[in-house]
C-alpha cells in the first residue's frame, strides 16, 4: 500500500489530476447540474488550443528553458489559416504552412538560446515581438473573418462518446508524445538535458541538438494550435494568441512540469491545459462571474509552485544532512580502529 502511495507521489501530474477532480467535485457540489458527462467532457473538448500549446512548450520547459513566443506564432498561423479559409482553401495547406512557420520560429529561438547562449526568456520575448509584427503585416492589420466554406464547422463535430474530432486528435498526440518521451532513447534526452546538462554531455547527449529540437517542436505545436484557433473561433484579430503563452506555461506548471527542467511529461501538460481552460466554464456553474478566472488561476499556480519548491528544497536539504551525519556516524564506528593498530 505504501509502495503504491509512493509511486503515485512520484508521478507528478497526479497532483494536477487531483486538482482537476477536486475542481469538478466542488463545482458539482455548488451546482449538481454540472456533474453530467456532457458538461465534463466539454471541459476537455474546449481545451484543444491550450493543450496543443502546452504540449509544445513542455518540450522546451523540460530542457530547462522557456518559450514565450508561442502566443505570437499561434497568432501568425491563425491569421494565415483564416486567410486561406477566406478562399475556402484546404486545411492540409494550412497545416503544411503552419509546420513550416513553426519550424522557422523554433529554429530561430533554438539558435539564439542553444548556440548563442542568450537567456531564453529574453530571446523569446524578442522573437515574440517580431512574430507579432508579422501577424500585423500578414493580415494588414485587419481582423481575418468571414471564411468561405466549412472550416469553422470542423471544431464541434463529435467523433465518439461526445469527444470532438479535434480533441480526439489531441488525445492521440498526447499519447504518442508521451510514448516517445518516455519509451524511446531519444525521447529521454529532453528530460536528461534539463536534469543535468553536464551529465548529459558526458554520456554523449548533445545539449545543442536537444534544445534545438525542443524549440522546433514548440514552434510546430503552437503553429498547429493557431490553425485550430482559427477554425474554432471563425475570426482572427491581430492580437490573437497574445497572453496564451502565459496560460500554456501555467498549464505546464499545474501539470507538474518543473520550470527548472528535468521533470514532467506531456500528460501533465494536457491535464494542466484542461484546468486552465475549464476554470471559467466551472465558474459559470458555480454562479460566480468569469471575472474570478484569473484570480483563481493565479492562486492555483502560486500554490502549486510554492509547495513544489518547498518540498524540493526540503528533500535536498534532508539528503545533504543525512550525508553529513553519515560521515560522523561512520567515524564513531571506526574510531577504535586506529587505536587498535597502535597498540
Amino acid at each position: 500500500m505504501k509502495n503504491i502511495f509512493n509511486s503515485l507521489k512520484s508521478i507528478r501530474w497526479i497532483s494536477g489530476l487531483l486538482f482537476l477532480i477536486a475542481m469538478i467535485l466542488i463545482t458539482g457540489m455548488a451546482n449538481p447540474d454540472f456533474l453530467s458527462y456532457k458538461n465534463i467532457i466539454s471541459c476537455f473538448n474546449a481545451s484543444v488550443v491550450f493543450t496543443l500549446l502546452a504540449i509544445g512548450i513542455s518540450f522546451v520547459i523540460m530542457t530547462g528553458e522557456i518559450d514565450v513566443s508561442i502566443g505570437a506564432t499561434m497568432g501568425l498561423t491563425a491569421s494565415i489559416a483564416g486567410m486561406i479559409a477566406q478562399q475556402d482553401g484546404s486545411p492540409v495547406k494550412m497545416l503544411l504552412i503552419a509546420v513550416v512557420v513553426g519550424i522557422a520560429v523554433g529554429a530561430a529561438n533554438g539558435v539564439g538560446v542553444a548556440y548563442f547562449g542568450v537567456p531564453s526568456l529574453i530571446l523569446t520575448l524578442g522573437t515574440n515581438g517580431i512574430v507579432r509584427g508579422l501577424v500585423y503585416i500578414v493580415s494588414d492589420g485587419k481582423t481575418v473573418e468571414n471564411y468561405a466554406g466549412t472550416f469553422t464547422n470542423y471544431g464541434e463535430k463529435v467523433a465518439a462518446f461526445g469527444i470532438t474530432y479535434y480533441y480526439a486528435v489531441v488525445i492521440a498526440v498526447v499519447l504518442i508524445t508521451h510514448f516517445l518521451l518516455t519509451r524511446t532513447a531519444k525521447g529521454r534526452h529532453f528530460i536528461a538535458v534539463g536534469d543535468n546538462n553536464l551529465g548529459a554531455e558526458l554520456v554523449g547527449i548533445s545539449v545543442f541538438k536537444t534544445k534545438m529540437l525542443a524549440y522546433m517542436l514548440s514552434g510546430i505545436f503552437a503553429a498547429i494550435a493557431g490553425v485550430a484557433f482559427a477554425s474554432k473561433y471563425g475570426q482572427v484579430n491581430i492580437v490573437a494568441g497574445a497572453g496564451y503563452e502565459m496560460s500554456a506555461i501555467a498549464a505546464c506548471v499545474l501539470g507538474g512540469i518543473s520550470l527548472s527542467g528535468g521533470l514532467g511529461n506531456t500528460i501533465g501538460a494536457a491535464i494542466g491545459a484542461v484546468i486552465m481552460s475549464s476554470v471559467s466554464r466551472m465558474l459559470v456553474f458555480i454562479g460566480l462571474s468569469s471575472n474570478f478566472n484569473n484570480t483563481i488561476t493565479g492562486v492555483l499556480l502560486i500554490t502549486i509552485v510554492v509547495v513544489d519548491a518547498l518540498t524540493q528544497k526540503n528533500s535536498i536539504e534532508k539528503a545533504r544532512r543525512k550525508r553529513l551525519l553519515q560521515r560522523t556516524a561512520h567515524s564513531a564506528g571506526s574510531m577504535p580502529e586506529p587505536e587498535k593498530g597502535g597498540e
Binding site: F116, G133, T295
Partner: protein, 344 residues
C-alpha cells in the same frame, strides 16, 4: 583615439549615440518630428514602461525578473477608481490605498521568491494572473461597466488649468514639462541615488553577483531581494496613477501589454539578466530609445502604431545576440570550467 575607444566600451555612451542617431534619422525623414511638445507627450504615453523599467532594473540586478508589474498598473488604476467613484473616498486617500495594496502584492511575490526559493519567473507569472484577476474583481464591484472605465476624476479650475488629481497626469510644470515626465525625472534621480550611491544599492549588486558570498558577508539577502519586488510594485503603482490621471480613465487592464517593452528597456540598458550588473541611466536611456522609436516610426515612416512590437523585438534581439557573439569566447570557457569543477 584611445580615449574614444574607452568611451565606446561604456555602454551608456553607445546608447546615447543610438538615441542621437534616432533623432537625426527621424528628423531627416520628417522635420515635424522635432517638436518638443510631441516628443514630451510621446514620453508621457509610454511613461508606464519608462517608470517600471527603472525598478525592474533593481530586480534584475539581484538576478530575478518581474513580469507582474504591468498587472499592478491596472490594479492601481481600478482601485483608485472604485474607491473614489463608488466608495466615495477622498481621491488622495484612494491613491495612497492603491499604493499600499500594490506594495503588499509586491511583498507577497517577493516573499515567495526570496524566502521559498521559487523561480521569480513563475512567481511573477502567477502574480500577473492573480493581480490582474483582482483588478477585474474590483472593477466588477463598480457601477461603471469594466470596458468603459471610470472617468471624470477631480480636474480643472475655472481657468481651465488641471488641478488636483488630474494635475499629476495632465498638468505641466515650468510651463512646458508635463508632470509625468517631471515625476519620471525625479524617479530616475531617486533610483540612481538608491542603486548607485547607497549601501542598499551596493547590497543589491552584491546579491546579484554572488548570493552565497553576500550571505558570508552578513548581508540580509532575503530581505533585500524581497524589497526589490516591493519597490517595483510601488513603481508600477505610481505609473498606474499617472496613466489613470493622464487619460482620465480607471481601467483594470491598463498597461497589460507592456511586458515586452519593459524587459527590452532593462536588458538593452545594459542590465545582465543573470544579475550583478546594470545601471539606472542605461535603463532610462534605453526606455527613451524605445519611446522615440514608437513615436518616430509611425510619424516618419508610416508604420502602424499597432505594429510597434516588431521593431522593439528586433532591437531586443539585436542587442542580446550581439552581446552573446561578443562574449562567445568567454561562454565556452565558462562551460569548460564548470565541467572541470563538477567532476573534481
Amino acid at each position: 583615439m584611445k580615449r574614444l575607444r574607452g568611451l565606446l566600451k561604456n555602454w551608456e555612451v553607445i546608447l546615447l549615440l543610438l538615441l542621437a542617431s534616432e533623432f537625426i534619422i527621424f528628423t531627416l525623414a520628417n522635420p515635424k518630428f522635432l517638436n518638443p511638445v510631441s516628443i514630451l507627450s510621446s514620453i508621457t504615453n509610454y511613461i508606464g514602461i519608462c517608470i517600471i523599467a527603472l525598478f525592474v532594473t533593481f530586480v534584475m540586478i539581484t538576478g530575478g525578473i518581474d513580469i507582474q508589474a504591468p498587472s499592478i498598473i491596472g490594479l492601481t488604476s481600478i482601485t483608485i477608481g472604485v474607491l473614489w467613484s463608488d466608495a466615495g473616498f477622498n481621491i488622495w486617500v484612494a491613491v495612497i490605498a492603491a499604493i499600499v495594496l500594490s506594495a503588499l502584492c509586491g511583498a507577497l511575490s517577493g516573499f515567495f521568491v526570496a524566502y521559498c526559493d521559487v523561480q521569480p519567473m513563475v512567481v511573477t507569472l502567477g502574480g500577473s494572473f492573480l493581480y490582474s484577476g483582482l483588478a477585474l474583481l474590483i472593477s466588477s464591484m463598480s457601477k461603471t461597466p469594466a470596458y468603459q472605465g471610470i472617468s471624470k476624476f477631480p480636474m480643472k479650475t475655472e481657468a481651465g488649468e488641471f488641478v488636483s488629481f488630474r494635475f499629476l497626469g495632465k498638468g505641466t510644470i515650468f510651463g512646458f514639462l508635463p508632470m509625468p515626465v517631471f515625476i519620471y525625472i525625479v524617479l530616475i534621480l531617486i533610483c540612481w541615488f538608491l542603486l548607485h550611491k547607497t549601501k542598499y544599492g551596493r547590497q543589491i549588486f552584491l546579491i546579484g553577483v554572488n548570493k552565497q558570498a553576500a550571505e558570508y558577508s552578513g548581508i540580509h539577502t532575503k530581505v533585500i531581494t524581497m524589497s526589490t519586488y516591493i519597490l517595483t510594485a510601488i513603481g508600477a503603482s505610481i505609473a498606474g496613477i499617472l496613466l489613470t490621471s493622464n487619460v482620465d480613465s480607471a481601467k483594470y487592464d491598463l498597461g497589460s501589454t507592456f511586458t515586452l517593452s519593459i524587459i527590452t528597456a532593462v536588458v538593452m540598458g545594459g542590465t545582465l539578466s543573470t544579475g550583478g550588473k546594470g545601471s539606472i541611466f542605461g535603463t532610462a536611456l534605453a526606455s527613451l530609445i524605445i519611446c522615440i522609436l514608437r513615436y518616430g516610426l509611425p510619424l516618419c515612416f508610416g508604420v502602424s502604431t499597432q505594429n510597434l512590437d516588431l521593431p522593439v523585438g528586433a532591437m531586443l534581439l539585436a542587442v542580446v545576440v550581439g552581446r552573446a557573439i561578443m562574449g562567445r569566447g568567454l561562454l565556452s570557457k565558462y562551460f569548460k570550467r564548470n565541467l572541470g569543477n563538477k567532476s573534481q
